[in-house]
Amino acid sequence: MDLLIFQAPILMVQASLDGILLGILFALIAYGMALQWGVMNIINIAQGDLVILGGYIAYTMYLVGIHPAWGVIVSPIIMYFVGWALYKLVINKVVDRDLFISILATFGIAIVFQQLMNFVFGADVVVAQSEYGTTMLFDNSVTLPNSKIFAAFISVIYAIGLVIYMRRSRLGRAIRATAQNARAAKILGVDTEKVYAATFGINAALCGVAGALISITLTLHPYVGLPYTVRSFMIVIVAGLGNLPAVALSGMGLGLFEEFADYILGTEFRIGAVFMLLVFILVYRRFKLSKKREYLK
């Protein structure tokens, strides 16, 4: 039964498409993480919880009768300010400390967010309905939910938009300058404090988009943030910082790898296979997690 995928080759098409669509969504979250990691050298454990909060914003819209797909516009706007406020309240106190402190701080934020969401939205698992229907291929043997296609499409648009923004806008250039050399950027008149706050806000906004997409493709629950954090962490590790095409490829690759591991090894080894892959990649690349810190306040 494990080798069903070889008996029915059409399943390979299904698995590949499922994997790629899911991977693109994960890549969007990972992109936010890579940005923030690269600029501020902060590994945000609360990443997944920001995603879920974004999802709840879309879900709330759905409850009051607005189509949840509008969440991909509303949610990032709200989340930008949430991220900005988080930076001002917590992160700027730890941004010049070592990596461990920032991990602890964001871990604390994650717990607070989980409890708050539990308090406000309840502990029930919820879904928002997009009613987008399904695309069928190859005489119904391959099915693609339109909501997933929509999610991948929106993710790509946001990712491209952000790349252009980073290249063209003043703030984008300031962010890139700060990432390269914070001290030099400050000497040349960049307000690094503002850049950090904006970076955190942009990351939260990307999480908001991803969350809104998750509310219509998967399910929401106050405590399911961590898997998204872990996924995006891995994608960033594999892709490296500051390398957007690599993040996209690594996201899709991970999605594919996961789906195929599911068919070949069985669902119970799906997550395990991903972690094994992570170990191999870390050993192979001897990835250096420590980056020289230079923060200016």
Binding site: M1, L4, A8, I10, L11, Q14, A15, D18, L22, Q115, N118, F119, G122, A123, D124, V125, V126, V127, Q129, T134, M136, N140, S141, T143, P145, S147, K148, L218, T219, H221, P222, Y223, V224, L226, P227, E259, D262, Y263, G266, T267, E268, R270, I271
Partner: protein, 413 residues
């Protein structure tokens, strides 16, 4: 030296006296109140079901107290419950159980929410010989450990979907069926799985897909693609509310055609409300349904319970509330039959419980599980856009006919 010994003696006797006076002042029965204790999940991931449980307990306490209380030794007593929030955390639950017993002097316990937390508390109540009537721990492993002070008003987890397999075989003209199943890897869902394995063996059915769902991920597209390719007669899914919601979402999106779909946690997931028409024809295991014709003198029947509960708490009672209310009825009955507050006498009375409540018949087996109440299956049926759960099995309680096989997606409007 002599002085030292004297001092020591005084010290020891003082401590002994203090302990003695404490333990007698914190009695299990204070004035006219019988004090019960419960650690319950008011925060954390089980908080919604924890609140359903607490509401069920409170509703029964109010009702019993209003209708004359508990008669022991010719005197009428009232129930009172001390609650602590266990934060959905098993360790915390076990600590709180110790605290209830040792500091608050509680001599009778009500169960927490979920199998996991009940498992954490049961060793504590067992150690102090405290009778516990629980209403929300269905895991089979609770009833195989030889616990003597644990009583559960609900049917054990392995019985949840056994009926569904029997039903599938019956619909297949008595011939064995091909089963595809996907279960989360937690104690409860795995117990449900064991039940299916038993039923498959008994009926000679074949299990062609046996996936274990990781609890971290809410995506089962791969399992469903396998189901599409192998075309089983029955698909069984159990993974709490997340599993139920994910399954329906992806089955409808991927247009998976399967003649019969059996699940757990449909009512907790508010399946028919959240997914509407897409959830139609899903078959769900449930401990209780308001349409069952069980009766008792406190709540009347299921429909009246439903109405009263709605009036008091503003929402329809899920079965978690109903079974929690039933736990109090069991305690009352046991106290009155024991006619004493002696813990062991109460325990013996609990052991010989044989009664009918609005929730169902209750009679405890050797492991403490309820052996008198069958699980029921309901099927989601829709009229236009409004969907309802209709009881379809077992036949004795069925209000509607079981619809089989599920129409193909291409034929559904």
């Amino acid at each position: 030296m002599n002085k030292l010994v004297k001092l020591f003696t005084i010290f020891i006797s003082a401590i002994t006296l203090t302990i003695a006076s404490i333990s007698s002042s914190f009695a299990k029965v204070e004035g006219e109140y019988i004090v019960l204790g419960s650690a319950i999940s008011l925060t954390g991931k089980y908080s919604s079901n924890g609140v359903h449980t607490q509401n069920g307990y409170n509703m029964a306490v109010d009702r019993i107290n209003k209708m004359g209380g508990v008669n022991v030794g010719g005197k009428s007593y009232k129930f009172e419950i001390i609650y602590y929030d266990d934060e959905s955390n098993p360790k915390r639950a076990a600590q709180l159980a110790e605290r209830l017993i040792k500091q608050d002097g509680v001599h009778y316990m009500l169960g927490p929410y979920s199998s996991g937390l009940t498992k954490a508390i049961a060793p504590v109540t067992e150690k102090y010989k405290i009778p516990m009537v629980e209403a929300n721990g269905a895991s089979r492993s609770l009833f195989t450990k030889g616990y003597k002070y644990l009583f559960a008003v609900l049917s054990p987890a392995n019985q949840y979907l056994e009926v569904a397999i029997d039903l599938a075989v019956e619909k297949n003209g008595g011939k064995p069926v091909r089963i595809a199943q996907a279960f989360e890897q937690d104690a409860f869902s795995q117990d449900v799985r064991l039940g299916i394995l038993d039923a498959a063996k008994r009926t000679g059915s074949e299990i062609i897909i046996d996936d274990k769902l990781p609890k971290e991920l809410n995506d089962m597209a791969a399992t469903l693609a396998k189901v599409k390719a192998t075309k089983p007669d029955v698909l069984v899914v159990s993974g709490h509310t997340k599993g139920a919601l994910t399954a329906i979402r992806q089955i409808s999106e991927m247009k998976v055609d399967v003649p019969m779909l059996a699940m757990t946690h449909c009512d907790a997931a508010k399946l028919s409300k959240q997914h509407g028409k897409n959830s139609e024809y899903a078959l769900c295991a449930s401990q209780w349904h308001k349409n069952l014709s069980y009766k008792d003198k406190f709540f009347g029947g299921g429909k009246k319970y439903d109405k009263d509960f709605k009036k008091e708490f503003g929402y329809a009672p899920p079965y978690q509330s109903a079974e929690s209310s039933a736990a109090l009825l069991v305690f009352k009955d046991a106290f009155e039959r024991a006619n004493s507050f002696d813990r062991d006498k109460v325990r013996d009375a609990l052991k010989t419980t044989d009664m009918q409540t609005f929730y169902g018949n209750i009679k405890f087996g050797p492991g403490g599980q309820n052996v008198a109440k069958p699980m029921i299956l309901f099927q989601v049926r829709c009229k236009g856009d409004s969907c309802e759960n209709k009881v379809v099995a077992p036949t004795k309680w069925a209000s509607d006919k079981f619809y089989h096989p599920i129409p193909k997606w291409s034929e559904r409007s």
